[in-house]
Amino acid sequence: MKADNTYNENSSSNKLPKSLCVNPFTVPPTYFEELAHQTLFLVKCELNFPSNKTSFTVPENYFDKQASTLLTTIKLEKNLKKDTFSVTENYFQTAADQIMSQVKIDELKNVEPAIPADYFTTLSTKILNRIEQSELSIEKKDTGFSLPADYFEIAQNNILGEIAAEKIKEKVTQEGFEVPTGYFDSLTSKINNQKEENKVIQLPVRKPQTYRKVAWYSAVAAASIAAFIGFSTFYPENEPIVENEILSLNEIPEDEIINYLAKYSDASDLQYIAEYIYQPQDDSKGIGSEVTNEVLEDYLNYTL
């Protein structure tokens, strides 16, 4: 609400010049509007919070005690101003030395001692190793178990190796090899066919009661003869006469024949052969002397 300018009210009788009828005083802008609000606010405060009523409280008997508290405080301040403390004899003479010593100690704390490089980075590992060793020695005392020399070093290498292998497996997930389509289905029949095609004079099944050494030995002799016949076919200058070869085998030690056979068979055959080697009688004509032409011919038919 704008206030009307009432400055010149009731001044009509003064007969002042018009230039002096101008109000020389000014107020801040919106002063009168704010004045109304402020006045109303104060009225509300007065209504809600009468000046004779306060919301602050004090402890019981506060004012009664206040006087004595104040007096005590005053006395304490007076006493503090008096010099009532004492010091030991020559305190101040020694105080300086003590202070300088403490300063030097503090300076030393700031000085770093010389330590090996990477000391702290390896310290934790060393401590853990010492702990492990001490625990291990305790275990050794308790359980009686011992370890191979350099066990932990070897174990560490093994573990690192396994980790490296795992890393390779992560890089290479498959091998890459392939087989022709249907290969494994046909492999079984191939093996069975070859099994039939490659039938040789089998060494008899080991039967403790029915085993016949003589027939078995004949097969070994026949094999050795066939080997020499094979040799003679590659060297035609030698006379490929079977009867002569049979007779010449008498001069060859049995060990040499076995070694020759072993070269062309696997160790299991050799072992089997060695177990059942025929021991010729004193009057025997030697190896091959009891091989008949029929046995020899059968053997050659199967192997050549």
């Binding site: 890393k167 390779i168 498959q174 091998e175 090899f177 022709p180 080991r206 696997d266």
Partner: protein
Amino acid sequence: MEDSLIIAKFTDEGTREEAFGMLLKKYQQKIYWHVRRMVINHDDADDVVQDIFIKVWRNLDKFREDSQLYTWLYRIATNECITFLNKKKQKQNVSLDDENSAYLSESLADGAYFNGDQAQMKLQQALLTLPDKQRLVFNMKYFEDMKYDEISNVLGTSVGALKASYHLAVKKIENFFSSHD
């Protein structure tokens, strides 16, 4: 299919063929891959595998069951692989004491029945830098996941030596990968 059943049936002449069929069904793929990893070439592996099983047919009746059947089979297969590889070296005039298997690189390079990516080819090339027996140990441990005790029974080598050989092989392969990146 229990190995003891196969052996028992093989002992009886009337069921020998059946037992051999069971054995083939159970082991032929394992033996094939064991051989293939060593000889690389499929046709060579085919020949060697057939020789192995013919030998098994001939000698299974002599198997004394003082080891597991598959250990015995692996022993035969391993010996046949080594024999084949030695013959191949002789044919190519490579020393038997040669410290790597580079003579097989041609088989790998021709790519027959090999469909691996670059990483897989690199691994096979890395393996060919190993001597045959070390490669054998690596294959059995890494690809076939055999235990050291089992490998020891197959090869007749101590467990400690096998571990050392394996980890040396892994290290060489790692170095190969690093130098060929």
